[in-house]
Symmetry: C2
């Protein structure tokens, strides 16, 4: 099927869209600027106007994923109650992972391009983590806990690890060996969020 | 380099050892009985005496991994205090994941052969999960909590998800973008175990 060749800004977007298709169908290992240009029917040199290397386009895709992920995490409703906001953020995390499995896998399941060489990607990843870290900070202030900085970072890592486990464990095929009753895995999200919530309540006891 | 050809039981073990090497260096996608026989210098038909297909040797490797994993989980010390035993099991889980990253990835990071066609593998996977589930049962009995069966399964899944997250999140390259202070990720294990412990304490309050 012939299709019009893209140029300029359009070509940049077309490269990104085609790269996502390659990653989705053939895996990230198959991504190359040569394959992108072949599929788009443009010269091998054309993508280099926008991306210095295969890693640069991958870093841009990952950056966009982190930005969309952060927007979801930060999507509100921002009630001013740090506990409710934390819970909303946890649900947003799991919702993003369910809705965008490819992007989730790119951010957390495959090797990233070297962060030092791709500062925009690194900045976006740090921003997503900072949202979670700030949420812990708000919880500490609201509950009057004056914890060491390190403890707050560790709590952000603990919450992240738990959410990552709840997002990824149900995707393992090991879970399929267990013959679990129907619907039980769906119930894990609410149950696990409640358990994690009580861990955080114990660390940041709600003020009477 | 010439090496003596293996036969019988030895050949079976040699096939498994070679399969593990292929998975480790080239990835599980490259595993085939043909490649195993080529590397071992035996006829293409030889591995079929022991394994009906590539999936059968993979299922056997995964079965052995689940058995070793279960042995680690069940390795004790079995104090009789369900809370301490649960904590020891969690530490054993993370220890296994750290010590055997290839086996951990095979069990939980890559698609498994169809469990229905590989009942031994399925049995071993279920046994590992049953150890965790039994541990929750002991905790419920010790603390006098009469919870629905479903809640105990959900708690086993919650604990598994949290441990899986703590084992796998530090391996993501996303964590490398954050510029965390040295040693902090090492501290996550103890910190996260403590937080998860307080979630379980809230659900199964220690008796006075």
């Amino acid at each position: 099927m012939a299709r019009p060749k893209a140029a300029g800004r359009d070509l940049r977007e077309a490269c990104i869209a085609e790269a996502l298709k390659i990653i989705e169908t053939d895996g990230v290992e198959q991504l190359s600027l040569r394959e992108i240009s072949r599929r788009l029917g443009v010269s091998h040199q054309a993508p280099y106007k926008h991306f210095a290397s295969r890693d640069h386009i991958l870093a841009e895709i990952v950056r966009q994923a982190f930005d969309a992920f952060a927007a979801e995490l930060d999507g509100g409703p921002h009630t001013g109650d740090a506990r409710a906001d934390m819970s909303a953020m946890g649900e947003a995390y799991l919702r993003y992972a369910r809705a965008h499995p490819l992007q989730y896998r790119l951010m957390f399941g495959t090797p990233l391009p070297n962060p030092a060489e791709h500062p925009d990607m690194m900045h976006s990843a740090r921003h997503a983590f900072a949202l979670l870290h700030d949420c812990i900070g708000a919880l500490a202030r609201q509950t009057g806990q004056s914890l060491a900085d390190e403890t707050r970072v560790l709590d952000a890592l603990y919450v992240w690890a738990t959410l990552h486990g709840m997002a990824s464990m149900p995707q393992t095929s090991a879970v399929g060996t267990l013959g679990l009753p129907e619907g039980l895995l769906q119930a894990l999200t609410g149950h696990g969020m409640q358990r994690m919530g009580s861990a955080m309540d114990a660390a940041y006891p709600p003020q009477e």
